[in-house]
């Protein structure tokens, strides 16, 4: 089960962003512009397909001088972002820190 909710600053994701859900997430990321925040507080799981969606959007927005900021990131997802090297590419705000 995966859910994506647009809000004023960007997107809120919930559930499991796996290879089956990534095509559902992609149009929402394509609709983002400027500096956008992605709230991952309720994201339980992300695989390489979901990471690809984040990276594609971040590259597009960064080319325009902005980018994605990942906030409220749970420890499991922080670990995956670290293993992927994404913590060097994105601003990542763990769930325990004030966003």
């Amino acid at each position: 089960m995966f859910e994506v909710h647009p809000d004023s600053n960007g997107l809120r994701l919930a559930g499991r962003l796996d290879a089956a859900a990534a095509p559902l997430a992609e149009p929402h990321f394509e609709a983002l512009s400027g500096a956008a925040e992605v709230d991952l507080a309720n994201l339980e799981y992300i695989s390489s397909a979901g990471l690809g969606v984040l990276l594609k959007a971040h590259k597009r927005l960064s080319a325009g001088g902005a980018g994605l900021r990942l906030v409220q990131v749970s420890p499991h997802i922080v670990e995956i972002l670290h293993f992927s090297g994404f913590d060097m590419l994105f601003e990542v705000v763990p769930a325990s820190d004030p966003a």
């Binding site: 796996d18 290879a19 695989s47 390489s48 397909a49 990471l51 995956i80 293993f83 992927s84 590419l89």
Partner: protein, 137 residues
């Protein structure tokens, strides 16, 4: 536990349901959930992508063994595909040089260590062990 998976991404949901049943019926540590889910999904998706001509189902086996879980995926009518032949991803590249994709096997290696590959009679079998302490990298 053995499942016969159709060659479609929607089967990931059944993979997760099977893993949930296995963990609910055993005393496996929760720390193994993410590695098992991720490595199984990535290898399954790789099998679909590298054998798009394949017709038959892919067999998934999940087995509780001493210290963890053994997972194997078998594609019964496939060309050889050894994940070890895929060059490692350089995760230190800057944003403008990072490719979309290619991270799956990298994450598998990070989370469960090596993937065992066996090819016989057109059957491509990939297996791994998820343990609390990684066995090797």
């Amino acid at each position: 536990m053995k499942l016969s998976l159709r060659r479609e991404l929607g089967e990931i949901e059944r993979i997760v349901a099977a893993r949930r049943s296995l963990f609910a019926a055993s005393d496996l540590p929760d720390a193994l959930i993410y590695p098992v889910d991720l490595a199984t999904e990535e290898l399954f998706v790789n099998m679909l992508r590298h054998n798009q001509q394949g017709q038959g189902p892919i067999t998934l086996e999940l087995e509780v063994v001493a210290g963890g879980v053994r997972v194997s995926l078998a594609d019964h009518d496939a060309e050889p595909f050894d994940p070890a032949s895929v060059p490692p991803v350089d995760i230190s590249r800057p944003l403008n040089e990072r490719q979309i994709g290619g991270l799956g096997l990298h994450l598998v290696r990070q989370l469960v260590g090596s993937v065992h590959y066996h090819y016989h009679n057109r059957c491509n079998t990939l297996s791994f062990m998820a343990r609390e302490e990684p066995t090797d990298v």
